[in-house]
Symmetry: C2
Subunit: 335 residues, 2 copies
Amino acid sequence: MVKIKDVAERCGLSIASVSKALHGNSDLNPKTAEYIRSVAKEMGYVPNSSARLLKTNRSYNIGVLFVDETSSGLEHEYFASILNAIKVQAEDLGYDITFISHHFKENFLSFYEHAKYRNVDGVIIASVDFKDPEVVKLVESEIPTVTIDYDFNGKSSVVSDNIQGEKDIVDYLVRMGHRKIAFIKGDDTSVTQKRVASFYRACKENNISVDEQYVKEGRYHIPKISGSITRELLELKERPTVIIYPDDYSLLGGITEIERQGLRIPDDISVVGYDGIKLSRLLRPVITTYVQNSIEIGKQSTLKLVDMIENPKTAIAEVITVKGTLQEGQTVKKL
Amino acid sequence: MVKIKDVAERCGLSIASVSKALHGNSDLNPKTAEYIRSVAKEMGYVPNSSARLLKTNRSYNIGVLFVDETSSGLEHEYFASILNAIKVQAEDLGYDITFISHHFKENFLSFYEHAKYRNVDGVIIASVDFKDPEVVKLVESEIPTVTIDYDFNGKSSVVSDNIQGEKDIVDYLVRMGHRKIAFIKGDDTSVTQKRVASFYRACKENNISVDEQYVKEGRYHIPKISGSITRELLELKERPTVIIYPDDYSLLGGITEIERQGLRIPDDISVVGYDGIKLSRLLRPVITTYVQNSIEIGKQSTLKLVDMIENPKTAIAEVITVKGTLQEGQTVKKL
DNA sequence: CTGAAAGCGCTAACAT
DNA sequence: ATGTTAGCGCTTTCAG
């Protein structure tokens, strides 16, 4: 491994000069600096991030905490897309990404300990149980963090606009003539709470009195569950004219059930999803869904975190809300 | 930050003793060691991986190279699933994961340079252009690597069994009574070449003379392209009875086109995919496809890489082939 | 059984 | 404009 010392010897200069040349700054003779750089390049010199970190206390490494409760956080298209956007933006800013975990084997580390162990400059947190004491500890530590889709009071976060999203859906349905609107909730998280509240408020604004038997407790991403809830809804004496699902996968489960009952979409019943997975555009009919802007969410969270890392004095904690868009597909009938 | 020195002072012992206690080995008095550990824990001591690396030259960090040519490598379910499996297995072995990239901003680093810069112990490479000189350089460097779905002569790799996969599909179709089999290729990669060769061989074994107009050049993951190729196939005087697609997304594009022509699946024409995305089981009809074992692929590549890292003398370079399974869905008609 | 000390590669304050 | 040097936190050899 070629190190600064090697370059210095080859140049017949001190290691300090080489270090300075490599950083561009300082008052080195420009020609000397240029010469040193050319020699360094020729010798294939690559700095050692760990040695540098030891001196500077900056790793240019961002931790990403994506817990896969079901061991598959990354397999959710929404999160995979966010992660990819984080990766792209971080690379652009000169940061690398390391997953934060429990780092088993030797000794179990808490998320906070792991972040310290790897000296990450900050952590982006998504798809976790935000009530987990370990997560809370990390967020409240001295390490800068940005949470995605969860707002810790006084901390920075980037959240998808679930309030507006659910409202856009309801407003659209009303415009399409629907008033018997069924709503299937996802797991009880803050995201869900916002969507539920927004659903009720939007209905009220449109003078729709929500029929409580149209509001069901469901789960995210489990087509079987949304399928059976769909059946319950279809069995009601007074059937809803449209069902809002918690996500596109759940909607697919619903579609399967609806077709099994011999009903047609959207002629017999309309359906709306959430997320805007790629397939929502590929399938026929094209799915009507609220497309979350996962790329922007990943990008903004990275920008915010790096801002906090590089400008600890001036960066302010804030909640950044990212809007999505309603994709008007072919699964909602005009009544 | 609490460091070894702090713990040593609190214990009234030397830093050497603390270091030894923390590692369990050596000939420290067991009671002293236990005492030191309890103090360290109480003080919230967490080792510094960078300082340790500087001495030991081991980072317990694995680089992962996933290039997103279309900036979306991670959004392909197959690769997202592999990555997740790598993450889970690495964590279990006490390794962390860092993405290898070009690390822009300051100075552009080649993949090899980036791997050195971060001192990763090894790199897993997937979803890249394996002809890229940079990738070749990394693979041929002193850094241990495992490539996924590409076999560099004499290097370790984990590959999905594309030969068997394509053969299983053809054999199944023949058993179902099909002989007019159309085949749409993906982009020209080694994976595709294997599938194509296997397709021809399997046909031959089944005494089917392949009609060349049934074999088309396509692309992976672009439903529009597979859709238009599907149309070409449907326009032939002698239509095939079944179309094999390069992946499940492409199949979806084909289905859309087929239904647009007013044809029914599988009554009018049968279709087969590749990959086994989650949706292939959710949709109706359930898609007949070859399910790649992405979890096993991720797991095996991590195990192999760590084996090479930890046993450089005895670990042998090898190609590990991971079998998949044919998912008999409802898109192939029994003739 | 415990401690002293060298040194991993680098940065930066301070000399020269 | 260039060089000397201390030291970041840790492991490990060698002494005691």
